[in-house]
């Protein structure tokens, strides 16, 4: 009887601690964003521009017209998928920089199917998506197994693979896959059946190129969250990330967990490539993703690799990107300031000592209070 009482007491205590931890995490994230925005404000001020007007455009611009909202949601879909794709290996404490190669492989696979393979209606959308996820997973498997089985540095491996795949992509778009008879460099358009339905068709307001990929992205985030928090594989990945030696001791096959984290992340980045082909551009374009692959890393970091929070971070960050473009059109402040803000966010997030210091102080205060209460 007394033991159950102690247990419920313990559980309540544990839940309270967890809630406090989440509150601290969330407030740290918000504080980080706020601090970065303040620094951006000061930089604009220091360069002799009007920061108030610039920030007005940056922060309210994306919501002013419906097609701007569409532009934001379209960008958020790709960026969040990329954030999710690196969040999974990050959970296993693997620094994968391979989202770029995975995205381009996914785009190629999706385009190859969607251009050349006639399929019945629903399959015409699904098969290219599956092909893209498979291709991305394959590109994740290479550096993943090199790291897991051979111990090769995953950073160098993923960077080299990026360099190879991006060049092969470039070759294919400029050569074999180039639309014949076109002076501009791009592939043929995908079959209309394979396109991801634009949100405009659903809501009846012009939302630009935003498409049902947004829903796919949300589903992926929930699925990954369930995977990480509710499945044995997710547990193995988390354990590997928090302490590989201990996980090994506890009977977890660490190399397997590492490999899987790369493969799953790769599949998700492949989906991001499919979204660009089937939803945004409708064909292969040179330099399809720009610098998005690296920006996915920022999103994952900001969200502390929690898939559900990645969605929030992705929406927030693409909002800044969309706002930055509007700011540049309406004021004389360049959109690059957004990259500076982003960099400040990364640097603040990595400065582990700052939040830890804060957490420790809070914890100490609580212990002190409890001791007073017990007396």
């Amino acid at each position: 009887m007394t033991s159950t009482l102690v247990e419920t007491e313990d559980r309540r205590e544990y839940r309270a601690t967890r809630r406090r931890g989440l509150a601290v995490d969330l407030s740290m994230t918000l504080a980080t964003i706020l601090a970065a925005l303040v620094i951006g404000f000061l930089v604009i001020l220091a360069t002799g521009k009007d920061p108030v007007r610039a920030y007005e455009a940056l922060l309210t611009g994306p919501l002013e017209r419906s097609f701007r909202v569409g532009r934001w949601l379209e960008d958020a879909t790709t960026l969040t998928l990329l954030g999710l794709s690196v969040a999974i290996p990050f959970r296993a404490r693997q620094i994968s920089l391979g989202a770029e190669s995975q995205l381009y492989a996914g785009a190629l696979a999706a385009a190859a199917v969607a251009i050349f393979l006639p399929l019945p209606p629903v399959l015409a959308v699904v098969v290219p998506l599956v092909a893209a996820a498979t291709a991305g997973a394959g590109m994740g498997f290479v550096p993943g197994s090199m790291k897991a089985r051979l111990g090769a540095n995953e950073i160098v491996a993923t960077l080299m693979l990026n360099a190879v795949v991006v060049r092969v992509y470039d070759y294919l778009v400029n050569g074999p896959l180039k639309q014949p008879g076109s002076s501009a460099v791009h592939s043929e358009r995908i079959r209309p059946d394979s396109a991801l339905t634009p949100l405009t068709d659903w809501f009846g307001i012009p939302l630009g190129r935003a498409n049902i990929g947004l829903g796919l992205m949300l589903l992926t985030a929930v699925a990954l969250w369930l995977l990480i928090t509710r499945t044995p594989l997710g547990y193995r990945i988390r354990m590997t990330g928090s302490n590989a030696d201990f996980a090994e001791y506890g009977g977890i096959r660490v190399p397997r967990a590492i490999e899987w984290s790369f493969v799953i992340g790769g599949a998700v980045a492949g989906l991001a490539g499919a979204h660009l082909v089937q939803g945004v551009y409708g064909r292969l374009e040179p330099g399809l993703a720009g610098s998005l692959a690296f920006e996915g890393i920022v999103v994952a970091l900001l969200a502390r690799n929690n898939p559900l929070v990645v969605v929030v971070a992705g929406l927030f960050y693409s909002y800044l990107r969309a706002g930055g473009d509007i700011m540049e059109q309406q004021t004389d402040v360049g959109t690059e300031i957004v990259v500076v803000i982003q960099a400040v966010i990364v640097l603040l997030v990595t400065a582990q000592a700052l939040p830890d210091l804060l957490k420790r102080r809070i914890a100490r205060k609580q212990v002190a209070q409890k001791q007073v209460g017990a007396r």
């Binding site: 090769a152 693979l161 690296f294 960099a343 640097l347 582990q352 000592a353």
Partner: protein
């Protein structure tokens, strides 16, 4: 095939290799020094970019090429110190902090150029000049050798002198011993009285300075202006050369030279009927294979050699 051979054996090609390899060599030695000091410097790319931009801007406004070069190197050195501070004082992960610094350099350089010159592309509107080339009086008369070696930019000469310099630094100086000791086992180094932090700060500053010289060469050697994101991944390739070279000065030298040669070859073959993109994948694919082999061999040997910081 004979035409490929003609290209490869021409003195113009060999001269191009030296030129193209210059930024790789400097940045790779920057990466090597940091890696040996126990802090991976993935910010090489950003340091190069910041130096290239600062160099062109300072030289353009001050009308002094030397001042520009010094300014560029100084900024990159500061970024090296900043990375060390983030790692050592704030406990940041060096890789993630490096990614942050790369982003910072990319955004800040583009923002600065746009703000100062109202130009999105770069500083081509600004007359900033290039660092001088060095004619070699004795050698420039000799047929092939003269064409290859003479009139190379002074930074190219510095880049090739960096290999023996770093080898000497590592294995012949007190600082080099300390650096390697700190990188391999900081606790042990501290226990014998080596000032660990100071050595790491110095190593990262030197690392940044070398990357800075590489960056300065891009905007004041290759060409006489800064273009947005002109480093184009060279910092990452240099990092690969560090590992491919097995973290040893002469190995890194050969790896960086190899990357330079492959890039020069890709450019030359573009004029023939070979897809340049495919040729240019070769060094990266080779690096992947070499990385796998290196790791496999090390794994088979067991714990022969202490693993470097990030391996």
């Amino acid at each position: 095939m004979s035409s490929v051979l003609d290209v490869v054996l021409s003195s113009a090609f060999l001269a191009a290799v030296l030129r193209v390899a210059t930024p790789y060599l400097l940045a790779a030695f920057g990466g090597l020094v940091a890696e040996r000091a126990g802090i991976s410097n993935i910010a090489l790319e950003g340091q190069m970019l910041a130096a290239a931009c600062t160099g062109a801007l300072v030289a353009g406004y001050s009308h002094s090429v030397a001042l520009g070069a010094l300014g560029g190197i100084a900024v990159a050195t500061l970024l090296g110190l900043l990375l060390a501070a983030l790692r050592l004082e704030l406990g940041a992960d060096a890789i993630i902090a490096g990614i942050g610094l790369n982003l910072l350099a990319s955004g800040a350089t583009a923002y600065a150029v746009f703000t100062l010159l109202d130009d999105k592309g770069g500083t081509s509107g600004l007359k900033s000049g290039t660092l001088p080339s060095v004619p070699l009086p004795g050698i420039d008369g000799i047929p092939v050798l003269g064409d290859v070696l003479s009139d190379q930019n002074m930074v190219t000469w510095l880049a090739f002198l960096t290999a023996p310099f770093v080898a000497w630094l590592f294995y012949r100086t007190r600082f080099g011993f300390h650096l390697r000791a700190v990188g391999e086992m900081p606790e042990a180094a501290a226990s014998v009285g080596i000032p660990v932090r100071r050595v790491q700060y110095a190593g990262l500053a030197l690392s940044g300075a070398l990357a800075g010289l590489a960056g300065v060469f891009l905007s004041m050697g290759y060409v006489s202006f800064f273009v947005r994101d002109m480093t184009a991944g060279r910092g990452f390739i240099a990092l690969a050369a560090v590992f491919l070279g097995g973290l040893r000065p002469w190995g890194v030298f050969l790896a960086a030279l190899g990357f330079g040669a492959a890039e020069a070859l890709a450019v030359q073959l573009g004029t023939l009927d070979v897809p340049p993109q495919l040729v240019s994948t070769i060094p990266y694919a080779m690096t992947l294979v070499a990385l796998a082999l290196y790791a496999w061999r090390r794994g088979r040997r067991g714990t022969g050699e202490p693993a470097p910081a990030s391996l």
